[in-house]
Amino acid sequence: MVSRLRTGFVWVTALIIFGFLFYEARRASVSLESAEVITGWCLLCLMVFLALFNIRKKLSMLPIGKAETWLLFHTAGGVLVTAVYWLHVGNLWPLGLYEQLLALLIYATVLTGVFGYVIQRTYPKRLTQTGVEVIYERIPREVSELRDQVEDLVLECTEKTESETLGRHYVDTLAWYFRRPRFFSHHVFGSQHGRQWLRQQDAAVRRYLSDDEKVYLDQLIELAEYKNGLDTHYVYQGVMKGWLLIHVPLTVALLVTSVWHILLVHIYAL
């Protein structure tokens, strides 16, 4: 309840700020003053404020509010920046090449931000559905340990059943699967292709196995299912961390070009 109130308060505040800026820009325009100066400086302030979120994450030891609160401000501020940008420019796409670069950067930054926000809201639920919990940095170790575990199992199967059918099948197909996370693009879009592939492999080999081997195969498939969950974690957590590789550099580029834009405007036009 408190969280919803806080969220509502932040969004209403953003709306009020935009309303005030809209009114002020219109007043300035009607009064033959430069509305662009007002909206431009506000836009820069907002962008700097949004960029501070990245610093806040690095300075987690400082008591400057929860990251959750900052994210809420960051989200509402991002939407506000888009609206104020349109107010500042007066249209969706400017004419000058440099202004177009600025527009491209701001749109790209906002879109990557929206993408990040969406995946932060949707991927955790999907991760819960996998039934696996793992820290992203530990996934390589988990995969490595799993691979060792599977290889031990296959060796044990070969030794005890004196049949190399499962072992050969592992070497030909499943070893590739356990080598590293697979089906990246399928996981990104929530596809169950990895699981389907496992079933195909299971069906392909099961008919040639003895009952003893089938017990080992069941254990192997169970471990492969766990590996599929790890792959999902790897992909989702990777995307949730990796989108910042685009968003943050774009923000840097946007700030640099914005500062240059302001400098030019004040040197040549104001």
Binding site: P94, L97, Y98, E137, R138, I267, Y268, L270
Partner: protein, 647 residues
């Protein structure tokens, strides 16, 4: 759930996601070591006895690295593209905020160097360039390098408005901002922007705009005194008038009656004014013959007291007269009888003024006139200025007697000196010009806008104000009344051409456009953009509807221009003719009723046609360009900004 045993300090690796590096073995999907890489990027596994790996950069490290790369890339691009404004690829310049409007682009050209046509270059040093961000740019002065106005450019509406009103100083960029594209309208203003300064605020033209002034827009009498009421009401369509003229006259008169307003007015090229098509189209048919009949008698032989010259002098100068030869042949006594002047007239009003004697002052003008005649017959040149009022002078004489043939003058003078009337050897000159007839030197106008008659009219209307002394003023007044009388002579010109006064000097409106602007400098109107006239013009091609009728021009011109049959139109001009010095061009009664606001609001209102301020008002007074902008292609940047001209 995660197995908590996994995080045991003995079995779990110490994950350091904020570290700059991650284990290289794990990155290659091998088994990462427990201790992970060192902070300096070296492998920490070597201390555990494992073969060393090559640690990879962590995501955070990569983010920082990518940010630094893109920062450098943007900075490099800015430096590269900022270096482009040397005319090569201006559209790619980091300084170029967008295309100029077509008009400005035509003047400054596509070269980026031409930026300095409007912007101060700030190029002396990097520090100066940077510090200029904190100094205001005076872009208005750059605008005024090319643009000029009829009033102070930096004041609102280019006007020095009353000091009681606080009107802020204006800059061009307050209303006009560039780089919005070649088709952008950078002069558009909203009604709200107009009303920000105006004390009388209202929402819309139809609801709050004040009523137009009385007689709008007929404030100043027109240059040409064309009486629409008398022409349309009497000469064109009055049954009484048409029945009073003979059939032969009527057959010539009827085809000359204009079919519509636009028979005489230039509607296809109309904008603010629908100017008359001129004398040849609108007036010549009926009035050309009247002009030819308006002869000017410049000199009339007055009564003289004595003979101008002896016979031998006359024979030597002019040759023997017929009377002399007949007397010699008949061997009659050549002894002259007592002299009796062939003319019994007083000095005419023009001669009275130019010679400087009253008409009845025969004792004084006699000798002067005889000397004048003697001078003509004995001199090789005709120099009337030697005998005239000193304020006429040689230059004025040249204008007044332009085209006067000395042969004609000498023959006339010889006849008058011989005390005989001069008889033309043929009828009156059909094609106009100077000629002598009995005791008069006349000028017959050759055509409309005859230059000699124009000179005489201008001379006569200014003679009074230039005259010195009561006697001379009286002679000037009499001459002016006589010359400008509409009943005879060239005064008929002023039946159509009005007189106006500028800086104490009277002048005649010879052309239609010579009068001052009738309405305020900030008002504008375009006839061509109003569909009523245009629609009627197109309908004119439809035989069933017919053209705009002069008799009933609704819904054409008369929608707005309704005739006022009660107005004393002629009286406005006649009064000013009698009182030249006090002729106030605004004291005039128009042929038309004033246009009221309701005429406009019948169309320009909410939910109808646009009614914004700029539709009828323009902000500037006579916006124009400096002459050098028009005559020659400017070389940008201008020399005064310290930069060399571009190619």
């Amino acid at each position: 759930m995660i197995d908590p045993k996994k995080f045991s300090h003995q079995t779990s690796a110490y994950e350091r996601p904020n570290n700059k590096y991650i284990c290289g073995r794990g990155s290659n999907w091998g088994t990462p070591c427990l201790s992970g890489p060192n902070f300096d990027g070296t492998c920490g596994g070597a201390e555990e006895g494992q073969s060393p790996c090559t640690p990879r950069r962590s995501l955070r490290r990569l983010r920082g690295r990518y940010s630094a790369i893109i920062f450098g890339l943007i900075a490099a691009l800015l430096i590269v593209f900022n270096g482009l404004p040397n005319g090569s690829v201006p559209a790619l310049s980091a300084l170029n905020p967008g295309p100029l409007t077509g008009d400005h682009l035509n003047f400054v050209g596509p070269s980026s160097k031409s930026c300095s046509a409007c912007h101060a270059p700030h190029e002396s040093s990097g520090w100066y360039w940077l510090s200029s961000a904190f100094v205001d740019n005076d872009m208005t002065s750059k605008c005024l390098d090319c643009h000029i106005f009829e009033g102070p450019a930096r004041l609102a509406h280019n006007q020095t408005i009353s000091a009681t009103q606080s009107v802020m100083r204006t800059d061009c960029v307050m209303c006009h901002t560039e780089h919005k594209g070649s088709d952008a309208d950078i002069s558009a203003l909203s009604d709200e922007q107009c009303s920000i300064c105006h004390e009388n605020k209202f929402d819309a033209f139809d609801s709050g705009h004040p009523q137009f002034r009385e007689r709008f827009p007929y404030f100043i009498r027109p240059s040409i005194k064309f009486d629409h009421v008398s022409h349309i009401g009497k000469h064109f369509f009055s049954d009484k008038y048409l029945s009073s003229i003979s059939d032969s006259k009527l057959s010539k008169h009827s085809p000359l009656i204009p079919e519509s307003c636009i028979t005489c007015h230039d509607e296809p090229n109309a904008d603010r004014r629908v100017t008359p098509l001129g004398y040849d189209i609108g007036c010549k048919g009926c009035h050309d013959q009247q002009i030819a009949a308006r002869e000017l008698v410049v000199l009339n032989l007055p009564e003289l007291l004595e003979r101008t010259a002896e016979d031998d002098e006359l024979i030597e100068a002019c040759g023997p007269t017929i009377e002399y030869i007949e007397a010699v042949i008949s061997e009659e006594n050549l002894v002259e009888d007592e002299y009796e002047s062939i003319s019994g007239d007083e000095l005419d009003v023009i001669s009275s003024f130019i010679f400087g004697y009253n008409s009845d002052d025969i004792d004084n003008y006699d000798q002067l006139f005889r000397d004048f005649l003697s001078s003509i017959i004995t001199s090789r040149s005709f120099q009337i200025s030697e005998f005239t009022n000193e304020r006429i002078g040689n230059q004025q004489s040249k204008k007044l007697f332009s085209g006067l043939n000395p042969e004609v003058v000498k023959r006339l003078a010889c006849a008058w000196a011989s005390n005989i009337e001069y008889e033309l050897p043929f009828d009156e000159p059909s094609y106009g010009g100077w000629y002598g007839d009995f005791t008069e030197l006349k000028y017959k106008p050759t055509r409309h806008a005859d230059p000699v008659l124009r000179n005489w009219i201008e001379f006569s209307i200014n003679a009074y104000s230039n005259a010195v002394g009561d006697e001379e003023k009286e002679r000037a007044r009499i001459m002016r009344e006589s010359l400008l009388s509409p009943k005879n002579g060239p005064g008929a010109c002023l039946k159509c051409h009005s007189v106006y006064q500028v800086d104490e000097v009277l002048a005649v409106n010879w052309n239609y456009e010579q009068t001052r602007e009738e309405v305020g400098p900030h008002q504008r109107y375009s006839h061509s953009s109003h569909p009523l006239v245009e629609a009627r013009r197109k309908q004119a091609h439809d035989e069933e509807i017919g053209p705009i009728s002069v008799e009933n021009s609704k819904p054409g011109c008369a929608t707005c221009h309704q005739m006022n049959t009660e107005s004393d139109f002629r009286g406005s001009f006649d009064r000013s003719l009698r009182e030249y010095e006090a002729s106030d061009p605004s004291s005039y009664a128009s042929n038309f009723l004033g246009i009221t606001k309701e005429t406009c609001t019948s169309c320009h209102a909410r939910s109808r046609v646009a009614q914004n301020c700029q539709l009828c008002h323009q902000y500037h007074i006579e916006p124009n360009y400096k002459i050098e902008m028009v005559l020659e292609k400017p070389k940008w940047p201008l020399e005064n900004n310290g930069m060399s001209p571009s190619n």
